[in-house]
Structure formats: structure tokens, C-alpha cells
């Protein structure tokens, strides 16, 4: 510590911290040179939009539907700019045969980057079609408008519609970015709660999910694996008895990768169960003790980096210093559908149906894993249950591809078991944090030292270079080297996401400790480090405010100069008054918290009211209020749904969830050993959206995770006086 300070003093006031403008702001600047969002990398207009002779529109984004409603939001944007009825826009699933490459659907950025691209592409398509109509009608294009997909001349409907002027080559051109999108004052569809396009087919049990794809002559596969991808399958491996079981087509063994393929699903299940009994594994063992995780995190080898620095710690006159340490256990995505995939190898091509978040990056990784050219692999995305980050989707796709390579011909449907998913998914990393903060005589925090310890939040198998991240890559006879774990730099950050406070502390020093090697595989779980860092910062702010006898909202406002952050806090105060959150009731407490996701995304302030039965160690979540600023809202109910869902999922993490660890590895393998929040435990939730339609749209999917955790801990402290600093929250 001393040497660092001396170094900094010697170096003068080195300012490493800088605040980037929100990505959306850049994405919305439409000009001839700069194509917005994902359009820059995918400028071919007909990659995005196609218009049929009947005037219907097909939108083909590169972002995957994950249950977050992105297809609906993008369809609204396209229909708005094209002036066609919302119902006339169909949205394609993502497919490497025809979709734009928008890499991953992650980071709550789809509305920002894909939305900006769709808006610009649709505006340009509309302009092209108007020009075609002008030619057809031999009048000046300035007289032509569009209403419901029909051209108007001098504001009167003409006999011509989009379908009448379109030809095969009309949209086969590069976007120029010259068409000006509509003014928000003219919006009729964006900003309305259009019903989700995917819900009817789900409610009526039509083909909606990857699980519903049934290909001719499809075989069924199951894996035999432990959760340890370094585990070695030991001899003897005489599996003849299983080969003889009814329906078994083939047992596939490639090093320690083991799968069985059968004619029928239940036959594959049974064969895998029998196969497992014959297997002896040499596991790498697990040296982690559940209760010693925080100490382990702080003592394990780490790459240490100062990620933000302002002023000089110790230079200001201070009257007191507060310190606290916090921790978080490993937590699981625990998706409702265990991962699956379908793969088929023919002479020409390997086709993989996958519920991945990124067909193009995964294609590169699978190509490397199975030794094919990317060009001979087609990845087709289809929806499964929500993933909330990197669950087993990519791993299962690679598993299916491997199996198909060993058994060419018929399509093979690989279904992971529930235990495969719980044991095989890359978890959200355990984390630890520490704050030292000093206050001046006016009760203002002037020095802020922050440390965060975490495993990676980024082992996505994106492209051949990172194929080694795939589960099977370490199992096969010729394993791929394990690539270095990802380190997402600031300002987005991985484990250090939201580690830089939004508050205006005069002096701050933020350090991240990235553990390059964790004995448990970890990667992106919704919000990444933001969940823990916001929990830490907002718990600490609350504690200091209370110790000063200050109102928690006013204390925060006093340390903010971001008007939008202040705006959500002010809105929250109104909501709390209206919902009577200020009346103190026995064994009940109210806590608040606020964050701007990634310090660049949506603003979210949350107040949570909880009841606490400290003797029985129970925290009953009663009511959550959320004030949210996502800039221009595309679909209000869609945003509210995402915020509600985020509150409930983060509540579940915060009061219930931890991966159970034992001497032989992870013990959480089903919903009994990894319980989540249930209906009677879910709080009432009310969400208010701020009107900020002049601001660029921001994603809402991860905004409420961090504030929820801190609001609950602050409410518990308010109810009991007990400050819980370890996630999940438990009374000892």
C-alpha cells in the first residue's frame, strides 16, 4: 500500500479514470460515413430486411431471441421506420447461412446496437422503395409517403404498395446511412407495449423451441460425464454390455468424452445410466472449502490492476475511516431447460441447431474442435429457455457436433440431463470485495479505496482461438489447450463491472484482482461483476448514511453529479411515498439502492421492503419498487418484464442461491440441491419508467441485478440492525 502511494505521489496526479459516452449515443449518430450499430460491420441491406411481393417484411437480425423479447422490439423499430403494420413484420431466427454477424447476444446491448442498425436499415429501405414508387408513378419522390405499407401521393393512398415495386435486386445494395430515420415525435409504434411475437406460439404449444425440432430419422444421444472437464476416463472401458441394450446405435468415446446414441430417447437415457456404472474417473479433485471461499479468493494467484484512479488517497483532511469486506458464493445460471443441440454430418456439411447466444463465434470454435472449415459448418439458432449468460448452450452444441462427426448421416439430438447442466455449466464466479473509505468533517466521502477479487466472467468459446474453452475440448483424445481466461477491460469490465462508483468521490483508487485459474469453471452470469460490485458499493453507502443519521437517498444524491442517476432516486422517493414505505412496521425494513449498469447503460433505483424473522433466519421479500431510466423506451411492457424478472432472479440469488461444494466437487445437481425462489416467496414488484425519450435506448436486462441485492441487504439492516455482507444473505 505504502509503495503504491509513494509511487503515485511521485508520479503526480495521474488520472486514469475517464467516462466514455454511452455507446448508444454514438450508435444513433446517423451520417453518410458512419453506419450505426451493427450495420457498419454488416452493410448489405438485404441481409437485414427483405420485402415480399405481398408486401410482408422479413427482418433478419443477428441477435438471438432468449426470451427477452428482442425479436419483438426489433420488429417494432423496423415496422416504425418502414410504416408497415407491426403484424406484417416477421423475424427470422439467426442462421449463419443468411444472418448478419452480430457476434453475441449479450451485455444488454441488443436494443442499442441491433436496434440502431435496424432503424437505419429500415429507414434506408423505405427511401429506396419510395424512389422506386416515384419512378413507377413518374412523379417526384417528395410527394410520396407511406401508410401501412401503401404509398401515398400528396397524402392520399395510391394503388401501389411495397410489394408492387420491389424486385429481387431492389435491396441488394450496401447501406449508405443517408436516409434519415423518423423523428421520435412521429413514432406511433415505438414506445407502445406491442405484444410479444413469440408468446402465442408458446402458449398454443406450436413449434417454438429448439426442443420442438423433430428431424426425419433423428437419433437421440446422452452424455456420460462428471462436472470436471479435466477428469480422465480410466480403463478398463469395456462397454459391450451397454452396446447390446435395446436401441443402442453407438457408444462414442473420444478420450474422456463419452456419449451414447440410441434410436429412442428413453433408450439413450437408460444406456447412459448403465454406461455411467461402468466408468471409473480420475478427477482433478476440488480443494475449495465453501466457508473459506473469501479467504481463498484473496490469497490465490491473481493479476492485479488498478482500473481507476482519481486524486490522491490520503491527501484530503478526513475525520474517520470506515472499512468493510463482502463476498459472494459461486452461483448458477440454472436455466429451466437443460442444454441440448441437434447436429447432422453429411458429406457436404455439418449442421448444428443450437440455442447459443452467438452462431458465428460458436461456428469458429466448433470448426476448430472437429477439424472442419468454418465454411462447411452451418449454425442455426433456435430458442430454448432463458440462459442469463453463458450456460451450457455452446458446450452442448459442441458435444452434439462431436457426436455427429463420429456418426455421420442421421441427425442426432443431444439432450443434457439436469445434472449435466448443473454440473457442466460455467458458473457465476465467487467474488470478494473490500472498501476503505474516509469522510471529511462535512460527512462527505473523500477517499475511496476499493478492491475486487474474482475469477473470470468470460470464457466464451468465440472462434477457433478460444475453442479450448468448450467443455469437450479438454476431454477429447487430443485435447485443445485451455486458452487464457477472458479479461473484459474497463469501462465495461468483467469482475470489475461497476467496480468504479458512479459517485463523485474526490479521491479514489480501484483495484481488480483477476484470478486466472479457478478450480471451478466460471463465465458470464447475468450482470457479471455488476451484481457483486453494486451490492458492495450500495450496501456500504447505506451503512455510512445511516451511521451519519442521514437519509439514504439524500446521502447518495449529495455524492452524485449525474442528473439521470439523481432522477431515478427522486422518482423512487415518490414511489416510496405513494406505497407508504416510510411507515415503520415491526420486523419489517426498507432498503434502497441505485446503479447505472456498466456505468454506461440503464439507470435503476430499487426500494425493497422485507420482513425478517431473524430467529428462524428467514427473509421474506414483500414489495419492490423500481425506478428505471433506459432512455428511449421501445416497448414499455418489455422493459418492465425485464426489470421484474431481474428483480426476482437477483432476489433468488441474494436470499437463496449458492453452489454447494464438497470434497469431490460440486454437489448442486438438481433443484433440490440448488433451490431457487418459488411463487410464495416472490415479492410484489412495481416498476416506473422515466420519460427520457430524447436519450438513446439502453438495454434493461441486467440493470436490476445489483440494486436488488443491495436493497435487500439494506432492508434487512433496517429491520434488524444486522448488516449482512456475504451473498447469499444468511443469519449466522
Amino acid at each position: 500500500m505504502t509503495s503504491r502511494r509513494q509511487f503515485l505521489q511521485g508520479a503526480g496526479s495521474v488520472v486514469l479514470y475517464f467516462n466514455l459516452a454511452p455507446m448508444g449515443a454514438m450508435a444513433q449518430q446517423v451520417g453518410a460515413a458512419a453506419l450505426p450499430g451493427s450495420l457498419a460491420a454488416n452493410p448489405a441491406l438485404d441481409t437485414w430486411l427483405r420485402v415480399a411481393a405481398d408486401g410482408s417484411v422479413t427482418l433478419s437480425p443477428g441477435k438471438c431471441e432468449l426470451g427477452q423479447g428482442i425479436q419483438t422490439a426489433l420488429a417494432q423499430i423496423a415496422a416504425e421506420e418502414l410504416d408497415v403494420p407491426f403484424e406484417r413484420v416477421n423475424v427470422d431466427n439467426v442462421d449463419t447461412d443468411f444472418s448478419p454477424d452480430e457476434a453475441y447476444t449479450n451485455g444488454s446491448r441488443s436494443v442499442e446496437v441491433s436496434g440502431a442498425a435496424v432503424r437505419a436499415a429500415a429507414a434506408e429501405v423505405r427511401a429506396i422503395l419510395v424512389d422506386l414508387a416515384a419512378d413507377e408513378l413518374a412523379i417526384d419522390s417528395g410527394r410520396i409517403g407511406v401508410r401501412n405499407g401503401v404509398f401515398t401521393v400528396d397524402k392520399r393512398d395510391s394503388p401501389l404498395g411495397y410489394g408492387d415495386v420491389i424486385s429481387d435486386r431492389s435491396l441488394a445494395r450496401q447501406a449508405t446511412g443517408t436516409a434519415r430515420p423518423k423523428s421520435i415525435d412521429d413514432y406511433r409504434l415505438v414506445g407502445t407495449s406491442a405484444q410479444r411475437v413469440d408468446i402465442p406460439r408458446k402458449v398454443f404449444a406450436e413449434e417454438a423451441y429448439i426442443q420442438d425440432i423433430r428431424l426425419k430419422d433423428m437419433l437421440h444421444a446422452r452424455l456420460v460425464r462428471t462436472g470436471d472437464r479435466e477428469a480422465k476416463l480410466l480403463p478398463p472401458t469395456d462397454f459391450d454390455s451397454v452396446s447390446q441394450l435395446p436401441g443402442v446405435v453407438k457408444i462414442i468415446r473420444d478420450g474422456s468424452f463419452l456419449a451414447v446414441v440410441a434410436e429412442r430417447e428413453e433408450q439413450a437415457v437408460k444406456a447412459a445410466r448403465e454406461l455411467a456404472k461402468l466408468c471409473n474417473w480420475e478427477t482433478s479433485g476440488l480443494s475449495l472449502r465453501q466457508d473459506a471461499l473469501p479467504e481463498w479468493l484473496k490469497s490465490a494467484p491473481a493479476n492485479v490492476k488498478v482500473i481507476a484512479e482519481r486524486g490522491s488517497i490520503g491527501a484530503a483532511k478526513t475525520v474517520r475511516t470506515d472499512s468493510a469486506v463482502y463476498s459472494r458464493q459461486f452461483q448458477a445460471h440454472a436455466s429451466m431447460s437443460p442444454s441440448m443441440a441437434i447436429a447432422q454430418k453429411t458429406d457436404e456439411q455439418l449442421t448444428v441447431w443450437s440455442h447459443t447466444q452467438g452462431v458465428y463465434p460458436l461456428r469458429g470454435a466448433i470448426a476448430k474442435l472437429v477439424g472442419l472449415d468454418e465454411d462447411s459448418i452451418r449454425l442455426i439458432n433456435a430458442e430454448a429457455s432463458g440462459c442469463y449468460g453463458q450456460n451450457g448452450a455452446d458446450d452442448a452444441s459442441a458435444d452434439a457436433a462431436l457426436i455427429a462427426m463420429h456418426l455421420p448421416g442421421r441427425p442426432i439430438r443431444l439432450q443434457w440431463s439436469r445434472a449435466d447442466e448443473f454440473l457442466g455449466e460455467p458458473y457465476g464466479s465467487a467474488m470478494a470485495t473490500k472498501i476503505n473509505a474516509s469522510l471529511d468533517a462535512k460527512g462527505r466521502i473523500v477517499d475511496w479505496e476499493y478492491d475486487v477479487w474474482s475469477g473470470t466472467h468470460s470464457i466464451r468459446p468465440s472462434g477457433g482461438q478460444r475453442a479450448g474453452h468448450l467443455f469437450a475440448a479438454r476431454q477429447i483424445a487430443e485435447p485443445l489447450p485451455a486458452p487464457p481466461v477472458g479479461n473484459i477491460p474497463q469501462p465495461r469490465g468483467g469482475g470489475d463491472r461497476n467496480a468504479v462508483p458512479l459517485y463523485t468521490f474526490a479521491n479514489q483508487h480501484i483495484t481488480k484482482h483477476l484470478l486466472p485459474d479457478t478450480p471451478i469453471r466460471v463465465s458470464a452470469l447475468r450482470g457479471l461483476g455488476a451484481y457483486m460490485n453494486v451490492f458492495t458499493i450500495e450496501s456500504f453507502m447505506d451503512e455510512v448514511a445511516i451511521s451519519l443519521g442521514e437519509d439514504p437517498i439524500e446521502f447518495r444524491v449529495r455524492h452524485l453529479d449525474d442528473e439521470r442517476a439523481i432522477g431515478v432516486l427522486r422518482k423512487l422517493r415518490e414511489q416510496m411515498a405513494a406505497a407508504d414505505f416510510h411507515t415503520k412496521r415491526p420486523s419489517t425494513g426498507v432498503g434502497i439502492a441505485m446503479a447505472q449498469y456498466k456505468n454506461a447503460g440503464a439507470y435503476c433505483a430499487i426500494a425493497m421492503r422485507v420482513g425478517v424473522d431473524a430467529e428462524r433466519g428467514q427473509i421474506k421479500l414483500e414489495h419492490a419498487l423500481c425506478a428505471v431510466d433506459v432512455g428511449l423506451v421501445i416497448n414499455p411492457d418489455g422493459v418492465i418484464n425485464q426489470i421484474e424478472g431481474g428483480v426476482i432472479q437477483a432476489s433468488s440469488w441474494t436470499v437463496k442461491e449458492q453452489l454447494r461444494l464438497g470434497a469431490n466437487g460440486v454437489l448442486s445437481k438438481d433443484w433440490a440441491s440448488y433451490p431457487i425462489l418459488t411463487f410464495p416467496e416472490v415479492p410484489r414488484i412495481d416498476v416506473a419508467l422515466l420519460d427520457q425519450s430524447q436519450e438513446p435506448s439502453l438495454g434493461s436486462g441486467e440493470a436490476s441485478q445489483g440494486p436488488t441485492a443491495a436493497a435487500i441487504a439494506n432492508a434487512v439492516a433496517n429491520a434488524t440492525g444486522v448488516r449482512l455482507r456475504d451473498l447469499p444473505l444468511k443469519f449466522s
Binding site: R196, M336, S337
Partner: protein, 158 residues
Amino acid sequence: MPITLNVNNTEVELDIDPSTPLLYALHNDLELNGPKFGCGVAQCGACTVLADGRPVRSCVMPISGVMGRKIVTLEGLGSRETPHPLQTAFIKEQSMQCGFCANGMVMTAAALLEKNKNPTEEQIRTALSDNLCRCGAHNRIVRAVSAAARSDQTGESS
């Protein structure tokens, strides 16, 4: 020997192992999309179907156990043309994110509404307490069940 099942008011004959879980027969042989594989151990509810009106976890129920019982899946509950009030309400309330749990929610709620035409919110939450949802659509689901109950009573579609 083939086994005869009554699924969605149709008699079907299946020449498969009687120990086959009902879920696989419904999903793979009868190509029904409603019941979903979520856990295979009767913990999550995604595979729920009705057997003689009672919710059953089809992932652990062998087909031999439902012979002679009337099986109803989400497909049998209603369609776009003749939707069940719950299906209408789930759309109106936008009661899902990914919707993978929705089959189990709708089927379990349908059984509840058969027994209790006017359940309280608490009764709905209790009835659904063994059905898991990971996206956090719980409150919307409860709203939809309440709305469906009301519409059923008034005879209006919600």
C-alpha cells in the same frame, strides 16, 4: 404388446416399452410440444400434463401408469381458434419471458381452476409453488390465472 393411451380425447396405440416415461411418448412419438423436459426428476413442473384432470409430472410417469386415464396436454387445452381462458390470459398479461415453464404453469393452473373457480392470489401461489420459473414471470403468471378465473366466471374472454 401395444399400449393404448387416451391423449387429448384421441385413442393412440404405442408399441413401446411400458416403462417409457410419458413425456417421451408425448413429445417424441405423438409430437406434442406442450410438455417440456426440464429436469426428469419431477422437481420443476415443465412437463406437467393432466391425467383425469389432475396435474401429473410426465417426466417420471411411465406410460403404463396412465393407461385408461384421460391425458390432456397444452395442445388439448385449447388452440388459437378455441383458446382456454388461461391461454388467452397468458397472452394478454404477457406472462412469460422465455416461456419454457409456461406449459407447466398453464396445466397446473387449469387443474386448480377446475377445483376452485375463484382462487385467491395466495391460493394461486400455493398451487404453483412446485412449478419453477427462472425468468421471474411469477407475478404475471399469477395475474393471468386470476384473470382467467374471472373471465371463466363471467363467461367473457379476458
